[in-house]
Symmetry: C2
DNA sequence: GAGTGGTCTAGACCACCAA
DNA sequence: TGGTGGTCTAGACCACTCC
């Protein structure tokens, strides 16, 4: 679904109740699913029927049902109709801001220090720039950013000054990507990370691995090692 | 957008190229953003102008732009127009299947054992059922499920047999919720967790905290403690 | 083959908010 | 207050896929 529609929301009262909005249709369908009026696995009426029932256009019903399908509550197939998911795979939207914005959103002052910046070679990628930096929040270590950046995929890379602007932020504006993946895992802080993060060696730290591509070309891969206690949250 | 449209996709060739599809419009706009034809922060033409340019209906442009806004690449405001995000907050969609399905998706056999099941009281919630269970994958510990379930919010709770069906799965069909939150953090395995998971005490483990509500009523809260090495992944 | 969802169109009204 | 996005409509054609 459109993430922008999440959060506090008021139903628009167009046309003063003359006809249903797509949100109203979505709510009505959701109620029937939850009331087990339409039990898991059951097929629900087709769009034309629902449109007639709700007194709206088919396009309105379509939008409502598409939204519920995107949320994992319905499964739709051409010719096969629409069914209530038997085992709904709920989906949560994870926001991934620039680290500086993430720290600022917590009401803290963001700091940044470049730790290492060298040239290297990444197998299967070619020449890369290797960067390690520390982000701080109100002066305390927030997370370590370890990454390589492909020289081939990022024109102007050599000229970037990562002492002045974090690679995290510079890349946002200078290295567009088409797709990527992200993974979360727990790890024990290794001695170097522990030193830079100011925590005990072996302390459990949340690491975020991210990798992006521009088409078939790898752009960058990074590991964010967060200070102990860090949480990543999302809304269901 | 509809999740069903992700993945390998071929542009529909309706009308043999006479007019643009919304995906084509989205791709064209994306190209201009990436080419910095429309730099970060810049205002882009309004929907009517783009519709004229692409030779399609405004609704088609609207759908394309809404999709890009949902992905965090555009910011739209009535009267204010549409702008390219200066600091795009990328969004990733996290799938949250039932644990049994998650294990099965990895091609492993799911196992389940109830460890504890008692009545209790949760401050601010009232009487709850406290459940602790272990999920296994091919016989090896996969994750610990620790949760409370509100008796007030879940009719039929007392009759549920969590030795036969995991609470995780039973709740999917029996305790609909309206909203919830999820958080990831790294922790050190405490002695009890270490024993049940078969890992060393103090080992770094990924914990997932989840909490759901039905309207204003808390439904359940759980902690999933995953075996060391576990990863949670999503696509950008 | 035929039923269902996916999408496009052209027009319309409305809500919101920046100029 | 006017311009912009948000949405609805009624109709249409098409793609997919189950029967």
């Amino acid at each position: 679904m459109a993430a922008g529609q999440r959060g506090g929301w008021q139903p628009p009262l167009h046309r003063c109740g003359v006809s249903a909005t797509w949100q109203a249709v979505r709510a009505a369908v959701l109620d029937r699913i939850r009331a087990r009026d339409w039990p898991p696995g059951a097929r629900i009426p087709d769009e034309a029927d629902l449109a007639a029932e709700f007194g709206c256009a088919r396009a309105t019903v379509n939008r409502a049902l598409r939204d519920l399908a995107a949320a994992g509550l319905l499964e739709r197939r051409r010719r096969g109709g629409t069914r209530v998911s038997a085992l709904p795979v709920r989906r949560a939207v994870l926001s991934i801001p620039v680290i500086r914005a993430e720290v600022a959103a917590r009401g803290m002052a963001h700091g940044y220090r470049l730790l290492h910046d060298t040239a290297g070679e990444e197998p299967g990628v070619g020449p890369v720039r290797l960067v390690r930096a520390l982000h701080t929040a109100d002066g305390a270590p927030f997370c370590l950013e370890d990454r390589w950046i492909s020289a081939a995929a990022v024109p102007g890379l050599a000229a970037a000054d990562f002492a002045a602007v974090s690679a995290n932020e510079w890349l946002v504006g200078n290295a567009p990507f088409t797709h990527g993946e992200i993974a979360f895992t727990a790890a024990a802080a290794d001695p170097a990370d522990a030193r830079d993060l100011g925590c005990a060696p072996g302390a459990p730290v949340l690491t975020v691995l991210r990798r992006t591509w521009a088409g078939a070309l790898p752009v960058t891969a990074l590991t964010l090692t967060h200070a102990p206690g860090h949480r990543v949250t999302a809304t269901l």
